[in-house]
Amino acid sequence: MSGELRILPVAFTARRPQRMIERHIVAYRRQWLIIVSGFFEPLFYLLSMRAGLGNLVGKVSVAGTQVPYDAFVAPALMASSAMNGAIFDSTGNVLHRLKYARIYDAALATPMSPTDVAMGEIGWALLRGQLYSISFLGVMAALGLVQSWWVLMALPACALIGLTFAGIGFAGTTYMRGWADMDIVNTATMPLFLFSATFFPAASYGSWAWVVQLSPLYHGVALVRAANAGVWTASILAHIAVLLLVSIIALSIAARRLDVLLRK
């Protein structure tokens, strides 16, 4: 709704985002293979790092202790797959529904509001992301890469990562002109994936390490790593704060832009 409750962060005015999620659940019942296949990409990365690079790299130090390379990258891959999944769900799929399938136009002729639509899409991305996070955690446990029970906290951490990137992805998609712009998404997520202390410690950057902090994924990786190690420090709060802040800004932009686009 355009006029109502604009003082509140726009995300809180969503009343029926669950309807959008219900629609996706029904639609994907026939395409569950697509959902399942999303699980394999991070798994392939993990296995490749473990089998191939593990011997070459040897041990890496995390929070003062030496861990095998696969135990070092596994939490980071879990975090990045939460990012990738959220981006994927909130860009290409949303662009399709927004511009080509025009699913939102139909929804907005009902009591659904643009905020409901935006929050529904983001909720769906989170739901799907949690599915992947849980299965990835299972694989980590099976491979002996879990270091403490605290690792369960990695799930809410991944939900927060998902929220952040689904928001960013959705907001960005509302500015896209067409499919060609999807290349920007790939080119933008790749440096985040590679340079968020995912594959090597931030300390490797020496005096440039602060640049890494600009990547929201870096904060997510730090959270998941802390969860897996079971070592909590005050910096955790800062990481959470950064992610929360980015998601609130991104979600507000997303809902407002959707309003502009759909209610012409």
Binding site: Q31, N55, L56, V57, L194
Partner: protein, 259 residues
């Protein structure tokens, strides 16, 4: 090669003129980011580990990875360029039907698209090679012959996938090819570490695909360790894929357009 094929390639060029900026970004910047992230970043960890020197044949890790990235980038580009754009030509924008209504034939369309993909792979491999030549660690005369190897690898994936894309009805399978063929080969195809690190069964699967053959030949060139006969043998395997794919694609397209 027919002149018709070159006319079709020209058609692709005309379409591409509207998109080249973004494409250049993804096919040039992405491999370099991997080089920086994995080659340099992980390289520091690898080179620190004294045990790994022997496994890599004495090369630094970044020098080991660089030719692998050159080749995998060509594979990815070749694969992408033979999926959605082929389906688009047949189903969405229907450009192929437009061409088929002229004296040009299925063979011209397939070869023309192949020429175009080879050019794209060659251009982006040249750009990546130029960037690699800039850094002392990865500088090598072997980068020059590595570029045509990248073009062949690009075709060895593009042509069989094109044959598939012509026949397939929906684009759902493309994502599956990406996820279950291209990405696993990228990760397990010998670009980031010697295949000897992997279980034997996985090694054989990796060796069955043309990627690994292209990677070790390119690496042989850049590290000056390639024998001529050895290189020709591996490249023949790569070319066989491109050739078989082309034959199949022509056959499939002929059926699709004229039946």
């Amino acid at each position: 090669m027919t002149t018709g094929a070159f006319r079709v390639a020209g058609w692709h060029l005309a379409l591409y003129r509207r998109l080249w900026r973004m494409n250049l970004l993804s096919s040039f910047v992405q491999p370099l980011m991997y080089l920086l992230g994995l080659g340099v970043g992980v390289g520091a960890l690898v080179d620190r580990n004294s045990a790994s020197g022997a496994t890599l044949g004495g090369a630094s890790y970044v020098a080991f990875v660089a030719p692998g990235l050159l080749i995998t980038a060509a594979m990815a580009l070749g694969a992408i360029e033979s999926m959605w754009s082929v389906m688009g030509g047949l189903k969405w924008q229907r450009g192929y039907h437009g061409i088929a209504a002229t004296p040009l034939e299925a063979r011209d369309i397939v070869l023309g698209h192949g020429v175009w993909i080879a050019v794209r792979c060659g251009l982006s491999a040249t750009a990546v090679a130029a960037a690699l030549a800039y850094f002392p660690d990865t500088r090598s005369w072997g980068l020059l012959p590595a570029v045509p190897v990248a073009m062949l690898v690009g075709l060895s994936f593009a042509m069989p996938i094109m044959a598939f894309s012509i026949n397939t009805e929906t684009d759902g399978a493309f994502a599956a090819i990406q996820r279950f063929v291209i990405i696993p080969l990228f990760l397990f195809g010998g670009a980031f570490y010697p295949l000897s690190q992997l279980p034997v069964g996985v090694q054989w699967i990796a060796k069955a695909a043309p990627l690994w053959h292209g990677v070790i030949v390119a690496r042989g060139f850049t590290t000056h360790s390639a024998g001529a006969l050895w290189a020709v043998g591996h490249l023949a395997y790569v070319v066989a894929f491109a050739f078989a794919g082309t034959t199949l694609a022509v056959r499939n397209l002929r059926r699709k357009l004229y039946s």
